[in-house]
């Protein structure tokens, strides 16, 4: 049994009397100990999908319309509030894009980490354990840092605190939603290295969200590519990087900054990301697709396994 199985998840945002489908028929599985990357341009529904794993999207404005989210075999969407609190932190922990906004500015970091301990490992809710966690995530002189407020730390250190807080409850799955986007370039690599290292030591699964395909090769076992609320390709990371199958994945790869190339300018994907409620009928990518065919405008492709373990949502996946 996989650790996480999102099956055909559908989520709407209610705006006035309209409901806009932000997540449409998304299926993602994560096995124990596996790292899965969720990739896609901004606004395609990565965060909403990830937050749904612990049912953290506020309802309203959101509404779960269909599908299941099986965590250890139990459907999160059907859980009672009490059970839900148990899996939040207990099974799945989160770190977010902007650590300075994600930490509460008015409480000491030691206090905030201890909160997680009190909820999930009350017998370990001690200063010693907090210090051990801070050491684990590579914060120097943790004994003196425990009384710091978030604003007294750099962005990189704040993100390490977030990681320590997430790991305090010993989760099975760590969801990292663009954990390096708000940080300096030099710090980004350090945080990713830390995640890799912690994963090796603690053996949890990671769902790493990014809009940069460039980091996927180092981090991921498998990759899910999202576009306009749908998964358009899901493949083992190396296969995907060597030979992307969906035209959108190819376009994303071409827009990755490559250190080795002399090319200064990235080829951004032409056209605009369709906004919520304005998705084209048929294939959602066809207006921007270089290999679009007339049929693409009419028929919405399904996510099908075109090769072993490689799922693609494209009518012409086999022929391209």
């Amino acid at each position: 049994m996989p650790l996480l199985e999102i099956k055909n998840l559908k989520l709407d945002f209610i705006a006035g009397d309209k409901s806009l489908r932000a997540v449409d028929d998304v299926s993602i599985t994560i096995n124990a100990g596996e790292t899965v990357c969720l990739v896609g341009e901004s606004g395609c529904g990565k965060s909403v999908t990830a937050l749904s794993i612990a049912r953290l999207v506020p309802t309203p404005p959101a509404r779960y319309v269909g599908g299941e989210i099986l965590l250890n075999g139990r459907d999160v969407l059907k859980m009672s509030k009490t059970d839900l609190r148990g899996i939040r932190g207990g099974v799945v922990s989160y770190i977010f894009q902007d650590p300075s906004a994600s930490l509460n500015p008015v409480f000491r970091i030691g206090n905030q980490i201890k909160e997680s301990l009190k909820l999930h490992r009350p017998e370990k809710a001690t200063d010693e354990e907090v210090i051990r966690l801070l050491k684990l995530v590579g914060i120097p002189a943790p004994e003196s840092r425990i009384k710091d407020y978030p604003h007294q730390m750099s962005g990189g250190m704040q993100q390490r605190v977030m990681i320590a807080m997430a790991l305090a409850s010993e989760p099975k799955l760590l969801v990292a939603d663009e954990p390096t986007t708000a940080l300096d370039v030099t710090i980004q690599a350090q945080i990713l290295d830390l995640l890799l290292d912690l994963k090796k030591r603690m053996g949890m699964s990671i769902l790493l969200i990014t809009h940069n395909l460039g980091i996927v090769g180092d981090m991921a076992d498998r990759v899910a590519v999202m576009y306009a609320g749908q998964v358009v390709e899901m493949s083992p990371a190396l296969d995907l990087l060597r030979r992307p199958l969906h035209p959108y994945t190819k376009a994303l790869m071409n827009s990755v900054p490559k250190l080795s190339s002399n090319l200064q300018r990235l080829s951004a994907i032409p056209g605009n990301v369709p906004t919520l409620g304005n998705f084209p009928s048929g294939c959602r990518f066809y207006p921007r697709c270089p290999s679009a065919q007339p049929e693409c405008a009419n028929t919405m492709p399904q996510l099908v396994e075109v090769e072993p373990n490689r799922w693609v949502r494209c009518l012409y996946a086999k022929s391209l």
């Binding site: 937050l51 612990a54 953290l56 509030k81 609190r85 148990g86 899996i87 939040r88 932190g89 207990g90 922990s93 989160y94 977010f96 902007d98 906004a101 994600s102 930490l103 509460n104 500015p105 008015v106 409480f107 000491r108 909160e115 997680s116 909820l119 999930h120 407020y149 604003h151 007294q152 977030m162 807080m165 409850s169």
Partner: protein, 321 residues
């Protein structure tokens, strides 16, 4: 922290100097003084008047008078009220206590009602509670203090449930201590409600919008993601952040309260500082006016100071600056 407190206390001095200087200057612009009316009285000789004037340095230019006043004030002597035939300090102290009592009661009432209501309205946004609260806020903010004070007096007169103005009954001195306390409270209730009304409405609105802002913050998602029960999320994580901006308006609210108290005291015959200053002004009893104005300014500055202290205590980002 200590240096912060000392620095803020030192800041008060130039403000109070400025206020007293301006008061002296403005009073010099108005013609006449307390003794001008006395000169109509044939029983007082011009020599006697000149002597009385000289005692208060009224024969000198205003800036010289100001310097004399400063010298005395530095020694704790605020002068002598010719109208009341009493030392200004004694007069001010008893009236200050009444104003303080009224302001304190109104502040207490306003905050104790407004903060919980604001939280409730925000947590139950768009529910009937929220709508009722915004209606209360609308009414509280749109009725002027003057009108509300008059309505309260009419209510008291019509129902007889409350005394019509004043701070104590005429029989106060004959009452037992228990009756005396009840009598004071009974007189305090209506002015407090009138004074608290607009204050309450403002704080409630502010609290509601602060709560809504804080509820939208990313750290709330973090807190929920940790598995913290929703009540704990709201009363620990959201509330602490929502209350901080409110502490900054505390100082301003004190300013509003004092000007409100001025109106309420005058209409509802509450023997406070505002009423005393008003009476002194119409009697041109200058030492009393200056002391009243400076005292009001001091209260304002102290209010701001308390607000800063509270904020520093509550918000570590400010404390450590």
């Amino acid at each position: 922290m200590l240096s912060f407190i000392i620095k803020r206390l030192l800041h008060m001095i130039p403000i109070l100097l400025g206020v007293s200087l301006i008061t002296f200057f403005l009073m010099a612009l108005t013609p006449g003084d307390y003794f001008t009316q006395l000169s109509m009285n044939p029983q007082i000789s011009p020599e006697k008047l000149a002597q009385l004037r000289a005692e208060q340095h009224l024969d000198k230019p205003w800036y010289i008078r100001y310097l004399y006043w400063l010298k005395d004030a530095a020694h704790g002597n605020l002068g002598y009220s010719a109208a009341y035939k009493a030392s200004v300090s004694d007069l001010i102290t008893s009236r200050l206590w009444n104003t303080f009592l009224l302001s304190f009661a109104a502040t207490l009432l306003a905050w104790c009602v407004a903060v919980p209501l604001g939280i409730w309205a925000a947590v139950q946004k768009d529910s009937w509670v929220d709508r009722l609260c915004s209606l209360i806020a609308f009414v509280g903010l749109s009725i002027p203090d003057v009108l509300l004070a008059l309505l309260a007096l009419m209510f008291a007169a019509a129902t007889g449930l409350f005394p019509v103005g004043g701070a104590q009954s005429s029989l106060y001195d004959l009452m037992s201590p228990g009756e005396q306390i009840w009598d004071r409270l009974h007189h305090l209730i209506l002015p407090t409600i009138v004074l608290a009304a607009s204050e309450l409405a403002g704080i409630m609105r502010q609290m509601r919008s602060n709560m809504l802002d804080a509820l939208r913050s990313e750290f709330v998602t973090t807190a929920r993601a940790k598995g913290i029960p929703e009540g704990w999320v709201i009363y620990k994580h959201v509330l602490r952040n929502a209350i901080n901006p409110l502490l900054t308006i505390f100082g301003y609210s004190l300013a509003g309260l004092l000007s409100g108290a001025f109106i309420v005291e005058n209409i509802m015959a509450w023997p406070g500082l505002g009423r005393l200053t008003m009476e002194a002004l119409s009697a041109k009893d200058y030492p009393l006016v200056v002391a009243g104005v400076v005292m009001a300014a001091a209260l304002l500055v102290i209010g701001n100071f308390i607000a800063d202290l509270l904020l520093a205590w509550s918000d570590p980002r400010i404390r450590l600056k």
